[in-house]
């Protein structure tokens, strides 16, 4: 079913972020996948052959690998094989942290690789004998304190984002624990994972918001609206999701929201999603945002695909919800017309 689709879609690169004025790519992944590894192998072979005569050729091998990585990273960032489109303010914050760490680690990486390659190229020490140096207190102190300082900075700078992600007030975070912050949500739903689908149950907006969402999550009501594998909300909505599972651990992964949370058997885990962008274009077409499962949950783990629809406003969302409600009551009536089925006999003896 997908075989034909794949090749065409791959070269089309849906979701590509074109950067104006960017130079053309050096190579296209889809076309180079097969010959590039062979070419790289060839280069390694050449480096080896040259090294038989000139041992400094090993520096070229290390340098070449470094260049390849740099190229890949830049190429991927340019061609859209990078962080998925961001759909919320918190996702922007996460991306900011990601790029901060990326910058710092890149500097360190280039520094260490530069030194390593230099040591391969350096002239032989005078007399062919290196000095018998056992260490240097000052140097040790420098390369102990500088990384420590940077790492502590990284540790501190991420704290507010983590608190916000977990739906908490940053200041009161250490005291607050896992209880959801008291700010009211616009939309409440449970997401129940099971092998292998996501079952959503929306709290009916006609009803007043329950005081205790944990209690609501445990007690389904007749007015609730059900959906399978579809997460709907509207732009700007604060969505409170109560994550549950009936069988094994699943992980609810929304790449565009930088959101991921395991569902733990026997527990209901509250989570907050603040949607800031819609994936419905002005002409009504929809950019596909997907739900994936990120924790191995059996053979069909890869099939727990769902989609996210963030409507442009609450009205559009309510339209969808009402349609869903109508079809639900239709199904209920037709089901009521049938004789009640006997509870199924258990398969295990």
């Amino acid at each position: 079913m997908i075989t034909e689709g794949t090749s065409t879609k791959v070269s089309g690169l849906p979701g590509t972020v074109e950067i104006a004025g960017a130079p053309p790519y050096l190579f296209e992944w889809s076309e180079s996948a097969h010959w590039l590894p062979l070419a790289i192998t060839g280069l390694a072979l050449i480096a080896w052959i040259v090294s038989l005569r000139f041992k400094r050729a090993w520096a070229a091998l290390f340098g070449f690998t470094l260049a390849l990585m740099a190229l890949w990273t830049l190429q991927s960032a340019r061609s859209g094989l990078w962080l998925p489109e961001s759909a919320s303010l918190i996702a922007d914050e996460v991306d900011g942290l990601f790029h901060l760490v990326m910058a710092l680690t890149s500097i360190f990486y280039l520094l260490t690789q530069g030194v390593l390659i230099w040591t391969l190229l350096q002239p032989a020490p005078p007399g062919g004998r290196a000095a018998r140096v056992h260490g240097n207190h000052l140097l040790e102190l420098v390369w102990f304190t500088v990384p420590t300082g940077l790492l502590v900075y990284i540790a501190l700078v991420q704290l507010p984002t983590w608190a916000k992600m977990k739906g908490q007030v940053p200041g009161a975070y250490l005291a607050a624990g896992y209880q959801p912050a008291s700010d009211p949500a616009d939309l409440l739903l449970t997401v129940t994972g099971r092998q292998w689908e996501w079952r959503m149950r929306y709290h009916s907006p006609d009803q007043p918001m329950p005081v205790n969402p944990l209690f609501w999550a445990a007690t389904p009501a007749a007015e609730d609206i059900h959906a399978v594998n579809e997460l709907h909300a509207w732009q700007g909505a604060k969505v409170r999701m109560m994550l549950r599972t009936t069988d094994v651990i699943h992980s609810f992964f929304l790449p565009q929201f930088r959101f991921k949370q395991d569902m733990l058997p026997g527990k209901t885990i509250p989570a907050l999603l603040h949607t800031d962008r819609s994936n419905i274009e002005a002409d009504g077409t929809e950019r596909v945002w997907e739900i994936a499962c990120a924790e191995l949950c059996g053979g069909n783990h890869y099939r727990m695909r769902g989609k996210v629809v963030i409507h442009r406003d609450k009205k559009e969302f309510m339209d969808w919800l009402n349609r869903q409600k109508a079809s639900q009551s239709e199904r209920k009536e037709s089901a009521a017309a049938l004789p009640t089925p006997k509870p199924e006999a258990r398969e295990n003896q």
């Binding site: 260490g135 207190h137 009936t246």
Partner: protein
């Protein structure tokens, strides 16, 4: 500059020659260190599981009388192990003084005491089996109307509901069928009178109601578990005061038990005592070797390092029990 290149060569006495005795002891201590980690993890698991079960219905961890844990039996067992530890110490001392005869005697006494511990444990396990206090086979009591309770009714509780049927049948099956007229009585009896007598016995009364509900397909596992649990509790309470109030003792239920957090309790109980028991059996084998050597007259003072290590291990197993006992029987 850090320099440690040229240090004066050490003299011979700074590095004592390794002795196999010291190495053996060190190996043993290291092994016991890993054993400490083993039982730490096990006991931590037990404590974490136990103290995280404050149920929403207020039902806490099963108390010793619900689980038929007799602290006196545990205490007696502690005494047995302590005595056997003393015996092993005596054996080590005796062998150190060159008296292999008394060492052998002490060893056999220690082994007998250890075996006695296992015997008492076997008696205790038998009691758990009799009361159907086995992990995975105990009816769970969940808060009424909760999702957990609903989930339990849809599947996980069904095997237990199946398993109590023979017990119900044995308790009141005959009367039940007579009262409902499903069976012709040899001697004509008054159903109302019979029902009245069933009602006077709490066990029979509960079994009667459950059979009725089962026949109507109304019985759910959580409902059955609740009534079994409540009935067994009231029987237990009544029997505690029966002597004082001059009443006869009520019969215990013939059905498998229902107990809030019962399965978790049974899992922890069997894991803790079972793994300790395995260590004890290994200890018996370890002590059995010099004891047997002693019988054939080949226990020599050069077995002392071995015996010292065996004693260390035995004391450790003893120590573990001293920690397990209060956590399991008294807490």
């Amino acid at each position: 500059m850090i320099s440690h290149a040229e240090c004066p060569p050490p003299t011979e006495e700074t590095i004592p020659a390794p002795s196999s005795l010291a190495m053996g002891q060190m190996g043993m201590w290291l092994f016991l260190g890993t054993e400490v980690m083993f039982f730490t993890a096990l006991l931590a698991t037990y404590l974490i599981l136990r103290f995280s079960v404050a149920g929403p219905d207020g039902s806490g961890w099963p108390n010793p009388s619900q689980t038929h844990m007799n602290a006196w039996i545990g205490l007696g067992n502690t005494g047995l192990l302590l005595l056997s530890s003393v015996m092993v110490s005596l054996a080590v001392r005796a062998l150190g003084q060159g008296s292999d005869g008394s060492a052998t005697k002490a060893l056999w006494l220690a082994i007998a005491l250890g075996a006695g511990f296992l015997g008492v444990k076997a008696y205790e396990y038998h009691g758990k089996y009799e009361h159907r206090l086995l992990p995975g086979r105990i009816g769970e009591v969940f808060p009424e109307g909760s999702t957990i309770s609903r989930r339990y009714d849809e599947g996980p509780g069904l095997p237990w509901l199946e398993s109590i049927k023979p017990g119900l049948e044995a308790t009141v099956g005959h009367e039940y069928r007579l009262i409902l007229g499903k069976e012709k009585a040899a001697v004509p009896a008054n159903p109302a009178q019979m029902l009245d007598s069933v009602r006077r016995n709490p066990g029979k009364s509960m079994a009667y109601d459950l059979l009725l509900a089962l026949d109507k397909s109304e019985a759910t596992p959580s409902m059955a578990a609740r009534s079994v649990f409540q009935t067994s509790e009231s029987i237990r309470f009544a029997n505690q005061h029966a002597d004082k109030e001059d009443r006869h003792q009520e019969d215990d239920l013939k059905t498998p038990t229902a107990l809030p957090h019962g399965n978790l309790w049974a899992s922890c109980y069997f894991a803790l005592t079972g793994l300790h028991g395995v260590h004890l059996v290994i200890g018996l084998v370890v002590l059995g070797i010099p004891a047997t050597l002693g019988v054939v007259g080949r226990l020599r003072p050069d077995s002392l390092p071995y015996l010292t290590n065996a004693a260390l291990y035995w004391h450790f197993v003893d120590l573990v029990w001293i920690i397990i006992f209060p956590l399991l029987y008294l807490l």
